[in-house]
Symmetry: C2
Amino acid sequence: MNTLYSDMDKETLVKEKNALERQYIEFKKKNLSLDMSRGKPSVKQLDISLPMMDVLNSASDYKSSVDVRNYGLPSGIPEAKKLMADMLDVSEDNVIVCGNASLNIMYDIVSTAMIKGIMGHTPWHKLDKVKFLCPVPGYDRHFSITEYFGIDMINIPMTPEGPDMDLVEEYVNNDESVKGIWCVPKYSNPQGLTYSDEVVKRFAALKPKAPDFRIYWDNAYCIHDIYDDRSDKLYPIFDECRKNSNEDMVYIFGSTSKVTFSGGGISAVACSGANIEDIMKRITIQTIGHDKINQLRHVRFFGDLDGMKNHMRKHAEIIRPKFGLVLDMFEKELSGLGICEWIRPNGGYFISFEAMEGCASKIIDKAKQAGVVLTGAGATFPYKKDPYDKNIRIAPTFPEEDELKLATELFILCVKLVSIEKLIGE
Amino acid sequence: MNTLYSDMDKETLVKEKNALERQYIEFKKKNLSLDMSRGKPSVKQLDISLPMMDVLNSASDYKSSVDVRNYGLPSGIPEAKKLMADMLDVSEDNVIVCGNASLNIMYDIVSTAMIKGIMGHTPWHKLDKVKFLCPVPGYDRHFSITEYFGIDMINIPMTPEGPDMDLVEEYVNNDESVKGIWCVPKYSNPQGLTYSDEVVKRFAALKPKAPDFRIYWDNAYCIHDIYDDRSDKLYPIFDECRKNSNEDMVYIFGSTSKVTFSGGGISAVACSGANIEDIMKRITIQTIGHDKINQLRHVRFFGDLDGMKNHMRKHAEIIRPKFGLVLDMFEKELSGLGICEWIRPNGGYFISFEAMEGCASKIIDKAKQAGVVLTGAGATFPYKKDPYDKNIRIAPTFPEEDELKLATELFILCVKLVSIEKLIGE
């Protein structure tokens, strides 16, 4: 059982600090070069998708409703629509299958909204102000898109149930310049939290002041459970929106980037028929169509959603021990010190860590100086500004376990050191 | 030897017309359903790239400078840069390799210019007028992009040497609202003409009034020769621009859409370092990177540019007889009638046909009524408006030869019929 740092007198803390500093110097001597900064799958995870590379070869037929090797079907092949629709919990008529990155779909939708407008509404570049709500901490690449286009971002605190819905309703239902909200509703990046049924229902019941307000529902981790005995369930927003005659209000995104290959997967957007039509007006100008061969490859490999889920169990087997390792070390070394908090997620790719106020950037710097790269301080907030300098996103999937252990040891050391420095007023 | 229609008296023409109409009725009875509308490769052409589907399998290594199965290298893998640079006749430092469609690269550049501006210049949406020069006839999908963004398009007549450069210089060097020109410089779509060295040199020596004027040099058919004994050579514009300290003035585009698989290939843009940097600022926001597995697949399949050129000879073997069939039938049936002209190209995907003024749309309609779909009238002009209603784009690659023969017979019949109707004043 660890003792609260705040219960220690200054002398004890200084002693502890000196001991930690000696350990830190030893760490530096190891010349580590480890990266826990991005949510990247490990080599072992990538290897489990290698059999997909055998399903299409020179002897295969390439027939869908068309020859997938030729032009056509800019909204995707029917079989891939079915697969991605099942993954995203919508009907296949409500899906467009695109290229390798769902981020690109989001970017294109925001970019098109800027210059052409959504479903005939005023292009955003003609408006004085356009605002997006950003549940924080959140996904840095979402925030980069809205920052790139000069869209004002408003922090919305996350609760254990999801974004603070009182605040969301207040903004969305009253402010016409609020045009969107970025959401990672299941195993959120970085907290690994899943929005409660109540939160999803309140989302679907929003009465936006802006007719072109949309929920950007990035269901990136929809099938990314880590444990066999417990997993989060996400209430299906699209059906609920429909019930509320709100079906145009949501875009749902997903991809197989962390199912098969990162950058070699397929992606999709799910939305109402009117939104599909609006998006297809652009896609038919923008491209001759997406890579249908890779769509067919995925379909033949998985068969159906059950095939995907079976595949995800193999990922879980590989990453479960890594999450366990980090979380157990945190538990053993950091619990009860009163200097930090973290969340034990049931899925996703991250562990979200909350240091003492003002300490996150110092911890990250200190770890970097000893050779361990963590996600940059503030990265999980719009404009890279964490107002309390507390949040650190930990990505445990990529390093092998021995490296992960070392990196976590160093991280814990840095957390303790920086916290003591704060407590003794250095 | 055919007789000039204009030398025939009205009675002879009416007789001829009646005979043609009987043939046309016979054709209609065949219930044809043939498509010569798009430049699509045939199944046989697609089949020659099937061995590419064997070069990567579950036993392959996926190593470039990174593991291509994971995130990273948003500008493409080095080997693919080298291959596409060689294809586009530039250095590999001047290339970004992207996804499956070069059209998408063009769209993204124009879209970004609209909303963010090129290299720090004023975003086009803030300008009263933005104009693009459009050599005509040209590629419909280029014109669709500029039309989509509300950019004014100005027709520039094509000469046998390329666009009318007096006119191009007049516009580009004096009008600041002229921001671009769409070019297919080799085996142009639809004429199959290659710009002369002199024309390329005049392009590279332009002194644009607008600092963000760019030449959109779509080198789609750079290695698409049809004959062994004759091929066009395109003077390298990028080096020439550099000589003139004009290296920022051109974007060069290319893809393997008509080399390997249409929609399953890889694409690239080549340009100056400053332009590359400008484009990468957007790409790093827009996507987590393009499909590097498909890039590696192409590299391993071709090895190098010679490998690509060998591969293109197989395409040429398949499409050469098709071009020959159409051109020989035109020669036999239509030459000397004084009612049309066409060009015999050395490469590319099209035959450009010029009917009598006001006849193109009628010919296309008549063919359609008998079951042969040609590219829509006016499609090769901005706003789909062919000012003289003369140009018809013929795409002979997709149909099998027996179908192509039937379709060409019908086409010739329709040309004659519509021309006689015009001549006798019906």
